[in-house]
């Protein structure tokens, strides 16, 4: 009935106008069909052309975020009382599937545009100057949790190993086959931390023993745990989730 009401009010419009409106209604219906397809889930997402647009928009957003990134802007820090307990476990696998890394034989492997590629054992990393932060970990899923992380300021470490800080990316390979990468500006940010401790204790396996990168200016999945190797490069190394479709820059 209501549709007829609409049709009759359309008929009230003059003839050339009706043609114009029919054309527009056709567009509108096309739009509605598109909308239904959109609403029905992944059919359109699988469409190559649409996916191409979405992917290039994601690359555009990488650029927009790099432009917005202020190397001197610090993530808010919180008092001890604000720490989330218990701090949630998160990975691409369940907590019972954590793969233990042997701390005694651990040697952080260095590759790419680095002057001194000598691997680093844990005692050497522990002997470096340590700093702490209480910051908010924000997950791409939306939830957040506040924790305390300690370790070596990453920019100090990069300087120490003679990394080429004019290069674009740093890639990470992890003991659980996870991998990720970050931009150099973020790597040099004062709060980016080569993390060895969580809540003043040696980093437990669930939070990334023996070493993780804590980057409070990026979403949680850009904070790799169990880091076994890192390399400096000018070719974007991508990442486990990034290659599946999460935005690469994912800055906070």
């Amino acid at each position: 009935m209501k549709i007829r009401g609409m049709a009759s009010s359309l008929a009230e419009h003059s003839a050339p106008l009706i043609a114009k409106i029919e054309r527009r209604l056709f567009l509108k219906q096309g739009l509605s069909l598109g909308a239904i397809a959109l609403l029905s889930g992944c059919e359109l997402t699988e469409d190559d052309a649409v996916q191409k647009v979405l992917t290039s928009m994601s690359r555009w957003n990488d650029g927009a975020q790099a432009w917005l990134f202020n190397p001197n802007k610090l993530a808010p820090e919180y008092p001890e009382s604000a720490i989330t307990k218990p701090f949630p476990f998160n990975a691409y696998y369940g907590e019972d599937e954590i793969r233990p890394v042997d701390g005694n034989s651990y040697n952080l492997e260095l590759a790419g545009l680095i002057r001194d590629k000598k691997p680093w054992g844990l005692p050497e990393l522990y002997a470096m100057p340590q700093t702490s932060q209480i910051t908010r970990h924000i997950c791409v899923e939306g939830w957040s949790a506040i924790g305390k992380w300690s370790g070596v300021r990453f920019s100090t470490f990069l300087e120490r190993i003679g990394a080429d800080t004019t290069a674009k990316y740093i890639g990470f390979k992890c003991g659980d086959d996870y991998y990720s990468s970050i931009d150099m500006a973020t790597a040099l940010h004062p709060q980016t931390l080569l993390t060895l401790r969580f809540a003043d204790q040696i980093l437990p396996p669930r939070y990334g023993f023996p070493m993780k990168l804590r980057i409070p200016t990026k979403l949680g999945f850009k904070n790799p745990k169990h880091v076994m190797a890192m390399y400096v490069t000018n070719t974007n190394p991508g990442g486990y989730w990034e290659d599946k479709g999460y935005n690469w820059f994912s800055g906070s």
């Binding site: 003059s14 889930g41 555009w60 899923e141 906070s252």
Partner: protein, 212 residues
């Protein structure tokens, strides 16, 4: 319109009520909002704020990563289109002419009339007070959505804005409730168009019959 007389009669019967810019931005906005809400619901489901999730059939993107791609692509459409609309609305006097004056008493009066099915829609070139309040509210909800969204997206770079939204978790709540209000107004809006179908073609043609 073969004769001069026809043309004169035509001009006398029809009146321009929706400027072209408003019509174009309205439909682009409708598409952008549809994408933003449907993908936003999928993102919500990844970590629900409340004890419910949104049915998958109403969501867009298929999974969190896909939904985020849609959300962060359509946000540019929403933002650019919204900026054109707001700048036009202010600069042309469109907002001032169509949405003001507005008084709480008039809004209450017209809303009660509308609920009793008595609200007059004689002159489509004038918004009644119920419409004015709804259109102002949806513009306000849109602005809150954009800023709370930025606060969630960039809680470090735009941390002052995030603090203004009550922190990161506060911004998530604000974003959700502004979405809920916006969706509610859109549903009422669509219901009103169905109840007063004459208004529908005017959003394409821009023209309505002058009340005799």
């Amino acid at each position: 319109m073969d004769t001069v007389q026809d043309a004169v009669q035509h001009a006398a019967t029809w009146v321009q009520i929706h400027p072209l810019v408003v019509r174009i931005t309205h439909w682009i906005n409708a598409l952008a909002i549809l994408i933003m809400v449907a993908s936003g619901w999928q993102i919500y489901n990844a970590s629900p704020l409340f004890g419910f999730t949104i049915p998958a059939e109403l969501t867009l993107g298929g999974w969190l990563g896909g939904a985020l791609q849609w959300h962060f692509a359509a946000m540019w459409l929403l933002a650019v289109n919204g900026m054109v609309y707001v700048v036009y609305g202010i600069a042309s006097g469109h907002f001032w002419r169509k949405l003001f004056p507005i008084t709480p008493r008039a809004v209450l009066h017209d809303v009660l009339d509308a609920l009793r099915g008595k609200l007059a829609h004689e002159d489509l070139s004038m918004y009644n007070a119920a419409q004015r309040s709804a259109y102002l509210a949806i513009i306000a909800a849109g602005i809150v959505l954009v800023f709370s969204g930025l606060a969630i997206w960039k809680p470090v770079q735009l941390q002052e804005l995030t603090a203004l939204c009550g922190g990161y978790e506060g911004a998530r709540l604000l974003h959700f409730f502004a979405m809920a209000i916006l969706v509610l107004i859109v549903l009422v809006h669509i219901a009103m168009v169905i109840l007063v179908p004459r208004t529908f073609p005017t959003m394409f043609s821009g023209r309505a019959r002058r009340p005799s």
